[in-house]
């Protein structure tokens, strides 16, 4: 499955949940396919989508909060998996689109071909962690992990396919803040 196909499967399943996106390919692909006001596009600060998502989940316990992360981001902030596991917000679903490379900078390899991030998350203390390799399996895994009390982790293995001509997020950072805050108020 290509990264774009994973997004095509995943995005229609999301309703009004706040979604925090990791920088690079994750932001740009999601923005290009389906822009939403409840999307927080983190265009810089690599590694922090997970801690931002944790903060939102802790302060909005009545909303299911979704993080769409990348393997490079998760590897940069492995310690945040421990923070999420220790805090254990039931309303948090951490999704990782794992293409095993830093795709938006030219597909340099990461380490996730050797390190199974869903196992790291489970060992850290996430309640449930699933790994999906076929696009037909995304829907069932997503629905299951969204319904079970979290924090839960969904790793989706994909092949790199990013088209660099995919535009960047066109909203200004300030606009992203304002509309996200209004949408999840």
């Amino acid at each position: 499955m290509k990264g774009t196909e994973a997004f095509q499967e995943l995005l229609p399943l999301i309703n009004d949940e706040p979604v925090v996106h990791a920088n690079g390919f994750i932001c740009r692909e999601s923005f290009a396919l389906k822009d939403r006001e409840a999307n927080f596009y983190m265009i810089g600060s690599m590694g922090l989508a997970s801690s931002i998502g944790l903060g939102v989940a802790m302060c909005k316990p009545d909303k299911k909060v979704i993080i769409i992360d990348g393997d490079g981001n998760v590897l940069m902030a492995l310690g945040t998996l421990a923070m999420i596991a220790a805090e254990a917000p039931e309303n948090l679903l951490h999704i990782v689109i794992d293409n095993e490379v830093y795709e938006s900078t030219g597909s340099q390899r990461s380490l996730s071909n050797k390190v199974h991030l869903e196992k790291v998350a489970k060992s850290a203390g996430y309640k449930n962690a699933l790994r999906v390799e076929q696009k037909e399996d995304i829907k069932a895994a997503y629905i299951k992990l969204k319904e079970l009390p979290g924090p839960n982790f969904l790793l989706i293995k994909v092949e790199p396919c990013f088209d660099p001509s995919t535009g960047r997020v066109t909203h200004t950072p300030e606009e992203i803040t304002e509309r996200f805050m209004l949408a999840i108020r």
Partner: protein, 168 residues
Amino acid sequence: MSSLTSQSFIKRLVQEEYKFFTGVPCSLLSGLIYELESQDEVRYIPAVREDAAVGLCTGAYLAGTMPVLLMQNSGLGYSLNAFTSLNLIYKIPMLVIMSWRGKDGKDAPEHIIMGDIDKQLLKTAGMEYSLLSEENCEEVLKKAKQKITEEKLPYTLIVEKGLFDERH
């Protein structure tokens, strides 16, 4: 505020509607963190790194809760990219309480350079700060609140050794 203690300062922060506390410890802030951990109406969330604490504060603010980050000045290095590529451009504020290790070159070697340049780094990044003291506490809290609510920018209060009690 009559006399500034860890207890009175945390109480003032809570009165000012700061409700979310996280950070990475420093001995100079140990009294404050002890206070946060022992009070019922506030919570302190231990962070693994200062930049992760910035992320956590960012999420809290986006969800409508005013956050406070406590860290040693050594954490400024780790968190500078988070401030410049996230908070300063997205206008996501927080109150930063930063201890000043390495003041006047009198400290362990690892603190000397950061103790010398931390204020310049904040200034260069466009992040305002005040050196907190018993005398200026009310004034700088007001200034911080204004910066945070009106300009939506982080504001840093610098804590010198001896200002608050230490708990080892």
